[in-house]
Amino acid sequence: MLKNNILPIEAYTDSTWFDLEMRHIFSSTWAYAGLVEDISEPGQFKSIQAGLNNIIIVKGRDHRLRAFHNMCRLKGTQLLRAEGKLQKAITCPYHDWTYDLEGELISVPKMDLEFANLDKSCLGLKQASVDIWRGMLWVHPEKDAPAVTQWFKDVEPYLGPHQPEKLMEAKDNVVIEDIKANWKIVVENYIDHYHLAQLHSGTLNMYDHAKAEFGFVGPHFAFWEPLDPEYAKNLEKNASMPLIDYIPKEQLGASVPMLFPGIGLGESETSWSVFHVIPIAVNHTRVEVRTKVMPASDWEFAKYASRSNKFWEKRIGPKYASEDANHPLGSADFMQEDIYVCEQQQKSYQSPYFELGPSASHGESPVRDHQQVVWDYLKPFIKNTKEG
């Protein structure tokens, strides 16, 4: 009998596993760092926690982004916080050591008095890598990281024709959810095909799940499904938002890849979103979702919403109509439905009576494949654990 047992249950409950994942997965791969428009002007910077590394990205007047580990070379103090704008240099708040935009140490207070023969040239900031791919910012802790395009090369052909740079971020639309579940449970739920028609029977029925095509390409997961025929029949009228106008007809649908580790995209006929899975603790995961849509006026959006209202009213509903709208299963919101099942699963994984059930051979194959990817990363570092 197939089971989702490539990884042991401890992988979801034991903080030793979590620490290893932070170190060997989240601190050693290209990490999502936001959207290009987050840093649009020279001098602007942003710091990103990527696994164990805090990395700053800063734009020079040459419009090139630089990336450094956010640590002063004297005591490791964090140099810059969150987001902001700097002039020409980066100064550490602790002892005012100052670095230029290339990360070179340029000034040390009382240098001659305090440090005999200090070679400033060996004390520049540790460099990291940064690049732009598909309208997103990416950072890598290594200075000479392999190109981001190489990392995504094999999965790229399976992604949607969307051009995120040409879309605009929906207003006040950043969704942040704190989920009481291990990051892998959140990812596995995102890539699980088996649940779509059941859990989301009332919320994701604008796509034809039976026609979904999906699978892993290296460490990354690709997924595409066409529009539901009834929705597609009168798409222009039924769409709740302006359609992304350059998607070829045969590609209309939803491309929902999960890039490794934990960067989900939702690329649909009307929107493009990033679903960023951020591990906080072994049983705590934060998800940050940012969404972009066609650049159009508020009036245009209102027009689509009201025009399609009738169609969606009939179609969208909660999993259980008897539930209160405050309950995830009564919410008619697919994200709430997913969070609910993830948290329930995490709870059970902690029960001594928990036993893995069978695994759906087709619909849950992505879950097993993702476990395999994680296992391949961690195998060399796991002691005394039997291989799945």
Binding site: P42, G60, R61, D62, H63, R64, L65, L101, E102, S129, V130, D131, I132, P146, A147, V148, T149, Q150
Partner: protein, 347 residues
């Protein structure tokens, strides 16, 4: 330096004032003649009984026949000869390709390349561009190219085709110092100056974040553009330069007559250096084949150690303070400032 007698395979006018020359490379010397985009060869021509040597950049695409392109310079003996008299089947003396101003594509690399070229400075950059675009599919190229007008623009048509073929990865903008009446308006009037460089980068920011900058042009083009780039935070480690179109130094440097002692290839020489003569020129005049390439203080090929005496350097875009402290100098730029000079080469 080894000289090879090669046959001219083809001579082709590319503009009214510029000619491309393709050489036949016999199989027996193919290995010595493998080259990287950006490199150049040296020619020795005997024109009306007088021997002249010149460096010309390779303009062809990697893997294709070795071609160099020469723009006729007013009063330029070699360039006029090549443009007006050289023909297929002629024999010319050539050295193997060399030079550090190179771009070697790698299919897995992803970069933004900024190219700044003035006039015939396009020739090595054209080789880089046409090699880069097909061989490094994830990279982007941005060319800012200045000429008098569109008629005098070398590779004008070829660049239009290239632009069409790689429209999603290549941006080309032209500056014309005196645009013709019937020309399409250039991106900007005038030469490439600081403002043009800054405007170009503002308008065309790098998409891939590993950006590299290549400069090729005559006279003060290189120091001026390097300064313009430095002003907007571009570090020197990302700037690659080739001085071009003759090593004309505008003001005559003043120097004393001096004696140079040099230990080269195990042989000791003692030679005179004339006023205003570079150590390099003095050595070449005595038949010492000291290494050099750009003769513009840009490439660093001519570096050596000053072990005695004093020199001044006209143009130095290579050596930094620590190099100079170590006594490193550029022979092509070094003019004696004391009577007794001694240099040595690292072996």
């Amino acid at each position: 330096m080894e000289w090879f007698d090669l046959t001219v395979k083809d001579v082709k006018k590319v503009t009214k004032e510029a000619t491309s020359v393709t050489l036949s490379i016999p199989d027996s010397i193919k290995n010595s003649f493998s080259w990287q985009p950006g490199q150049h060869i040296q020619l020795e021509l005997t024109i009306d009984g007088e021997r002249t040597r010149r460096c010309y950049s390779i303009s062809s695409t990697w893997g294709q026949a070795l071609t160099f392109t020469v723009k006729k310079i007013q009063g330029g003996k070699a360039s006029t000869y090549i443009n007006e008299r050289l023909k297929a089947d002629d024999l010319i003396k050539v050295t193997a390709p060399k030079g550090r101003f190179t771009l070697t594509p790698n299919s897995e690399t992803r970069r933004s390349y900024y190219f700044f070229a003035a006039g015939s400075g396009i020739t090595p950059i054209y080789s880089m561009l046409t090699t880069l675009l097909p061989n490094e599919p994830d990279s982007f190229a941005y060319l800012l190219y200045s000429n008098k007008d569109s008629k005098s623009t070398i590779f004008a048509e070829e660049l239009v085709h290239l632009q069409k073929k790689y429209s999603d990865r290549l941006i080309i903008k032209h500056c014309h110092s005196s645009p013709g009446w019937f020309d399409d308006a250039p991106w900007r009037k005038g030469r490439i100056d600081t403002d043009a460089v800054h405007a170009f980068i503002n308008e065309c920011p790098p998409y891939a974040q590993d950006a590299q900058y290549y400069l090729c042009g005559p006279g003060s083009f290189i120091p001026d553009l390097k300064k313009a780039l430095n002003e907007i935070d571009v570090p020197n480690t990302r700037i690659h330069m080739e001085s071009f179109g003759g090593a004309k130094t505008p003001e005559k440097p003043t120097g004393d007559k001096a004696i140079l002692n040099v230990n080269f290839n195990g042989e000791k020489h003692q030679i005179p250096v004339a006023s205003n003569q570079s150590l390099l020129r003095a050595m070449l005049a005595e038949g010492i084949e000291a290494p050099y390439s750009c003769e513009g203080g840009v490439c660093g090929t001519c570096r050596c150690f000053l072990t005695k005496g004093e020199v001044s350097m006209q143009n130095n875009l290579v050596l930094d303070e620590t190099d100079i402290k170590k006594g490193i100098i550029l022979a092509c730029q070094a003019i004696p400032q004391s009577k007794d000079i001694e240099i040595k080469y690292k072996t």
